[in-house]
Amino acid sequence: MSSARTAPTSLAKTLSDLQVGWGQRELWGHLGWQDIRQRYRRSLLGPIWITISMAVTAIALGILYAGLFGNSLAEQLPYILVGFIVWGFIAGCINEGSEVFIANEGLIKHLPSPISVHVYRLVWRQVLFFLHNLLVYAVMLLVFPQPLTWRSLAAIPAFALLVANGAWVALLAGIVSTRFRDLTPITQSIVQLMFFMTPIVWIYEDFLNNPNPTIAERARLAEFNPFLHFIEIIRSPMLGADQNLRHWVVVGVITVVGWVMTLVVMRRYRARVAYWV
């Protein structure tokens, strides 16, 4: 590895960190797999436990909320399942992102690698979790067939956008919470709260169309929740529902603003991470 004679806070060094880190795919790709196999190493079923626990949670929540809201299971269960899978990815990136450099203190202090390596490893691990959970989705399609069309393929670019956002969120949360350790528990509490405020177990459209205008009005507030838009761009195509350009626009704007913000922070504080861990 080489470093230029430029100041540590140059944009070129930040971009080179991201680029060199990307080049070390063999390392973080292997480590990401390792993390997953590791977690289930001494268990009989191994990583299939990811899939099973997702299935159990989604089925239980599906039955519970179908009963509470008076919806049919065929409507409620797929909605919760897909929302839950996407949420798992989002929450994983944010929660683990806020600890990503703290958890890798040993590696950061002993090996000169770009800080982005640790973030790529984290996001890759979350992608692998997501793929394991897709198995549950596949089984669900057999039990509760959805009106999928070729437009459902929009879920693929939508997921790519989600991954791109997961990377900046983990980088930003990682850098900031390495400096201010209080932010890790705060972040995790907020993420938990957001789970309830995001339409995952409750069906957004049902409340928008509620005969009680006050409730419909309140439900509309969910539009201010950025997570709603991320969930919608993936969930709608995966359930063959109508897709709304609005959500894509919001997600696109967040992606650009988020990365710009992260690059600014990273440019200023990237070299400090090794000092702070």
């Binding site: 590895m1 470093s3 090996l111």
Partner: protein, 256 residues
């Protein structure tokens, strides 16, 4: 071209603790008035105005007391710490060997650890697969290599780590001391490999308290004291200044 150059490089660590960040102290500071400038986060100056110029072929020993800044200097030279002031330019692929345990995973087998540790040191998977047999033979661990690392004794772990480390082809090799805890016969074997490794490396910096090791591997030396370079020069000069004339038995009496 392999080289490391630093110019007036300083490494300052901010020391964050609960106290310096507590609200109470901040408020009291405001009431008291003029402490604002002192109330900032305390800083430890680990390295101060370090200027070195190491070129291809350099074999540098680092000497100095505990806490003199040897390890921090190694990390600066590795590019792990970018200097808070001054500049540091590292050209070449760095293989830092500071801690034999880092990057080792107790739950996976010895073979897998060889691969991962190699990837961490900048090797590719292919390169490591080509080296596995050689490493296995060197470590004499036999069937144990298929067992999880947690079943290994400390000495066995050191063998594995040394086996990997000495198998790579680094451009810049940074060694921190403390490569002990192996039985004498094995150490003799490791020593041979270690010198081979050093031969292959374009540039070596080695921090050690052992005069014998230093004489074996290095030609020049840097003496660190209180985070500054006290002296730079040939190993003989520096060792004599650092430890007294006895450290280097005068060759005038003995050999030609």
């Amino acid at each position: 071209m392999v080289s490391i150059t630093t110019r007036d490089a300083s490494v300052d660590f901010p020391i964050f603790d609960a106290k310096s960040r507590s609200l109470k102290k901040t408020v009291l500071g405001l009431v008291g008035g003029n402490i604002a400038s002192d109330a900032k986060v305390p800083v430890i100056q680990a390295l101060h105005d370090v200027t070195v110029d190491l070129q291809h072929g350099a074999r540098v020993g680092l000497v100095g007391h505990n806490g003199a800044g040897k390890s921090t200097l190694l990390r600066l030279l590795a590019g792990i710490y970018e200097p808070t002031r001054g500049s540091a330019l590292v050209e070449g692929k760095v293989a830092p060997v500071f801690d034999l345990g880092v990057g080792m995973d107790p739950e996976i087998s010895g073979y897998e650890n060889i691969l991962i540790r190699g990837l961490f040191l900048g090797m590719t998977r292919k390169q490591m697969e080509a080296r596995v047999d050689d490493i296995a033979e060197f470590t004499e661990l036999g069937d144990f290599l298929s067992m999880p690392l947690r079943t290994y004794s400390t000495g066995m772990r050191v063998r594995l780590a040394l086996g990997v480390v000495t198998s790579i082809d680094p451009e810049i090799l940074l060694l921190d001391e403390g490569i002990g805890a192996v039985d004498a016969a094995f150490l003799e074997k490791a020593r041979g490999r270690l010198s081979d490794l050093v031969e292959r490396a374009g540039l070596l910096v080695f921090a050690s308290h052992s005069d014998e090791f230093l004489r074996q591997l290095c030609t020049s030396a840097i003496w660190m004291e209180h985070g500054q370079i006290r002296q730079q020069g040939s190993l003989k000069e520096v060792l004599r200044a650092y430890k007294g004339p006895d450290a280097w038995p005068d060759e005038a009496h003995g050999a030609a």
